[in-house]
């Protein structure tokens, strides 16, 4: 049974459709990331799941219990969720221990059991010894962990995280990611993780739901999202994909077909039912293209800029025959070419984006 079922959720703000028929089923124990740019509706979705707002259409169920629909609305205090807010929302007038203990106090759990569980939660996030501090005196990372501990102490079956790492610096983010991951493994809690950072989503999630402008674009494992994006937006959003127009030259065979793109031919992956036509879109990633080895034919291009990434260079190159396209690729140190030089690019892999019911209405 799915832990969380969102069925054609709809939410309107005035004339603006913030959620447009979004349907997601989150399995019990799954770590789902909801990924998308600002304004895509992911926070709105979270607030609907939590119960801070009411749906205009569709249904949301937690377990087998209907919590939100146009007619029903169970208030947040009765949904038995946990939330880690982006701003942590720690109560400044309470100590860390009091913050964490709040949910237990509300549920009627008394000392010594309450004290034990609080200590255990703080232990879980590595903050024992901090129980008497006030949130105002903690660092960002510490507050983050208190928020997590507070969320977990009541042992909810579903935890929502609203861009929890957005306010942290890069190193902290890495360690907190580990934290979340470990925690998920240990407890098996179902987690719904809202973020705009795809690296985070890819690293942590079992599946990712990509949203844009209120609509669900694709719901798949990170790997599938990366290798087989379902539409142009997803392709562009994940892994810095480059989307180029291409012509299909041959019918699919064993998941591959021949295409012509930017004047060169390449063999790329595609769906087994991909039709042969001239209007296809090809998704390329940096690792799918590279500088040709000596003797190989390739796409002529001029290097625009190089940026050192630590051990390798990220190159941006403009194809000779298409001045308004910029390709990016990686090259190992030392730099094989400098800015302004000509190179030849070989396309070794790619993915033909399937033509589906257009989800992007013409802007």
């Amino acid at each position: 049974m799915a832990r969380l079922t969102i069925d054609r959720a709809q939410k309107r703000f005035g004339s603006y459709l913030a959620l447009d028929d979004v349907s997601i089923a989150v399995e019990d124990g799954e770590f789902l990331a909801v990924l998308g740019p600002s304004g895509c509706g992911k926070t709105t979705l979270l607030r609907q799941i939590a119960g801070f707002d009411k749906l205009d259409g569709g249904r949301i169920s937690i377990g087998d219990r209907l919590v939100s629909s146009a007619q029903t609305h169970i208030p947040p205090e009765h949904r038995k969720l946990g939330i880690v807010f982006q701003s942590y929302a720690l109560w400044p007038h309470m100590t860390v221990a009091e913050n964490v203990a709040y949910g237990l106090t509300v549920a009627g759990v008394r000392d010594p059991e309450r004290g034990k569980r609080v200590a255990a939660a703080l232990d879980l996030v590595g903050l024992n010894g901090f129980s008497e501090r006030r949130p105002g005196l903690l660092s960002g990372g510490q507050r983050q962990r208190v928020a997590l501990a507070r969320c977990l102490v009541t042992e909810p079956s579903l935890v929502l995280l609203d861009e929890p790492l957005a306010n942290l610096d890069v190193h902290l983010r890495a360690s907190m990611e580990e934290e979340f991951s470990r925690f998920h493994e240990r407890t098996g809690t179902t987690m719904v993780y809202i973020t705009h950072d795809q690296a985070e989503a890819m690293a942590l999630a079992d599946r990712i739901a990509v949203m844009d402008r209120g609509r669900l674009l694709q719901l798949a494992t990170p790997s599938l999202l990366y290798r087989e994006p379902a539409n142009v937006t997803v392709a562009g959003f994940i892994g810095e994909g480059m989307v180029l127009p291409a012509t299909i030259l041959s019918a699919p065979q064993a998941g591959r077909c021949k295409v012509s793109v930017l004047g060169v031919e390449a063999v790329v992956r595609c769906r087994s039912d991909q039709a042969v036509n001239g209007q296809a879109k090809l998704c390329l990633r940096a690792r799918d293209i590279g500088i040709t080895t000596a003797g190989e034919n390739g796409l002529p291009a001029t290097v625009e800029r190089l940026s050192y990434q630590g051990g390798f260079f990220r190159m941006e190159a403009r194809p000779a025959n298409s001045q308004n396209i910029v390709l990016h690729l990686d090259a190992a140190e030392p730099a094989p070419a400098q800015a302004g030089e000509a190179i030849r690019i070989a396309i070794t892999d790619g993915w033909v984006i399937p033509e589906s019911v257009s989800l992007d209405k013409a802007a």
């Binding site: 029903t72 169970i74 208030p75 807010f85 007038h93 507050r143 507070r150």
Partner: protein
């Protein structure tokens, strides 16, 4: 709604119950007196009649007084905002020393009744002014005192209500995280630019709350225009009402009711304006960092400190010293020196005059009681108004201005009209008990508690409440454990205002008091009217000292209170 589980049902019942309970309460406190006045104005004796309305509208004095009321209230508010605002900014955001003591002193003038302040300033500017005589600038005998004028009234209104703006703005500034200011300074902006572009915009809710309170207070102020305006027949609406009342004759209550409603309409217009200004902007501050003190004054520090203290002493000490000197002489007009000084007035007031002692106890209990009750009402009230945006309450919010804006004597009349006969059902009469005065205080001062609380809510991030919701807390628990501590600084600012104003108030209890239910204001007034100014001054001086003592004693248990609750403690 379809069948919901019992837990959800309970939540809904709790919230709806609380909401409608509040609606009922505010309606009782605000609409009932107004309704009764409307009835008296338009249907006296049970018969619909427009004579009073016609007479009032046709009289040119009405419109002169209205114009005067508007001009003095607006100008007085501007002055109060400039003074109170500047002082709040200096006291909260800069590195001046002894800020707690200063805040304490600056708030004290709120405790001195406006009429005492008016008198003290009159004496200061008059020919018998000791201060002016000292610097050789005493005006010759017989010259007209410059304070008997529109400008004099505006000056005193500004001074009287500057602490209002100060209190509300200071509560708001303490919620401002220093990072915001430091960011501005780091970007190269001058402190004044940061003030103008960062601080003041974010401080709009508390500022506007303070300004609105000031405006309504100035509009309804009676004591200052009574002293400064009556001699020159410069009428404002409250003194015009009093004049009509003094004229007696049939139909006078109707006219008085109509004039009071006029004041109320003007007050409501002012508040609507305030609401408009606050709409559509986000003033929320999400932070848990400690208080800001980012502006360093450098070599300006000493002059600023001197200036601030000189001002506080002038505004506070002067009226108080005037009181004190009058309380120590045996009869009015006798110069105060070592030979004439006497404590006989204090002895009389403290030991012989039974009513004075009763008045202290009564005033204290009623003011503290009213302040507490009002805070308890205003915290959930503010919740529903600001966060739940309950339409019913927003309208009632406007209505709550009326009992504060209208002259106290009119509110008292409304209370008499309402509660003379025993209450229906309960068959108990509030008349001639302290409870009718308590009712009048609750009705009148509700708005004093509500405005700061609303501005407090506008500055709190709602996710703090949402987190509590997720943790399973229902509305009552959230109000008590999460919301109240967060809004406490603003709420206490409101409670203080209510207490200080009620403790000294006169015009309402002048008509409602009864034997055993005397208030301090009434006793002082009696003494004054009877020509016993010395007793009046002694009693007023004791009142000020008692209030100072009470406020100082709060610092004893300040440790247990959340941060920022007491304005004079960091």
């Amino acid at each position: 709604m379809s069948l919901a589980d019992p837990a959800t049902l309970r939540t809904r019942v709790e919230e709806t119950g609380l909401l409608w309970g509040l609606v009922g309460l505010v309606a009782l406190l605000s609409l009932l007196p107004i309704g009764r006045l409307i009835v008296e104005g338009l249907a006296p004796g049970g018969q619909l009649s427009a004579t009073a309305l016609g007479k009032v509208m046709a009289s040119p004095t009405t419109w002169t007084a209205t114009w005067n009321s508007l001009t003095t209230a607006i100008a007085g508010t501007i002055l109060a905002t400039l003074i109170g605002g500047t002082v709040a900014l200096l006291a909260t955001l800069t590195d001046i020393r002894a800020r707690n003591a200063f805040t304490f002193c600056f708030v004290l003038p709120l405790m001195i009744a406006p009429q005492v302040t008016a008198l003290a300033w009159l004496q200061l500017f008059g020919p018998s002014s000791t201060l002016l005589k000292l610097i050789g600038m005493a005006p010759p005998l017989g010259s007209r005192n410059p304070l008997y004028s529109r400008e004099g009234i505006i000056l005193l209104l500004g001074l009287q209500y500057a602490p209002l703006v100060f209190l509300t703005l200071r509560a708001g500034l303490r919620a401002l995280p220093k990072e915001l200011i430091e960011a501005g300074l780091a970007a190269g902006a001058s402190p004044l630019t940061v003030l103008r572009t960062v601080v003041l915009p974010l401080m709009t809710p508390p500022l506007v709350a303070g300004i609105a309170l000031c405006f309504v207070s100035s509009l309804g102020n009676f004591g200052i225009p009574a002293f400064l305006g009556i001699p020159g027949n410069f009428l404002v609406l409250p003194t015009l009402i009093y004049q009509r009342l003094s004229g007696l004759g049939p139909g006078v209550l109707s006219e008085v009711a109509i004039l009071s409603l006029l004041i109320g309409v003007i007050a409501m217009a002012g508040i609507l304006l305030q609401d408009l200004m606050l709409r559509r902007r986000d003033f929320r501050i999400t932070t848990t960092s400690s208080a800001a003190r980012p502006f360093e004054l450098g070599r300006w520090r000493r002059p600023v400190e001197i200036g601030l203290w000189a001002f506080a002493i002038l505004v506070l000490a002067m009226p108080f010293l005037g009181l004190l000197s009058t309380s120590l002489i045996p009869a009015f007009g006798v110069p105060l020196n070592a030979k004439t000084a006497t404590l006989a007035n204090y002895a009389y007031v403290l030991f012989e005059h039974a009513a004075s002692k009763r008045a202290f106890v009564n005033s204290f209990l009623m003011s503290a009681g009213a302040a507490t009750l009002i805070v308890l009402i205003c915290v959930p009230l503010g919740y529903f108004i600001v966060w739940k945006k309950s339409r019913a309450l927003r309208l009632l919010n406007l209505a709550a201005e009326l009992p504060y804006a209208m002259p106290g004597v009119v509110l008292a009349i409304a209370a008499i009209l309402l509660f003379l006969k025993p209450l229906p059902v309960l068959n108990v009469s509030l008349y001639n008990t302290i409870w009718i005065i308590v009712f009048a205080y609750l009705a009148r001062f509700l708005v004093l508690g509500l405005r700061p609380v609303i501005s407090g809510y506008l500055q709190i991030d709602r996710t703090l409440e949402e987190a509590a919701q997720i943790a399973g807390a229902g509305l009552p628990r959230r109000l008590v454990t999460i919301i109240f501590p967060l809004v406490a600084p603003a709420a206490v600012a409101g409670a203080l205002l209510v207490f200080l104003t009620a403790f000294n108030e006169l015009t309402v209890s002048a008509l409602l008091w009864s034997s055993g239910a005397e208030t301090l204001g009434v006793v002082v007034f009696s003494f004054e009217q009877g020509g016993d100014s010395t007793y009046a001054s002694a009693l007023a001086a004791i009142t000020v000292l008692v209030t100072v003592g009470l406020m100082a004693s709060t610092t004893l248990f300040a440790q247990k209170l959340p941060q920022g609750v007491l304005p004079w403690r960091d």
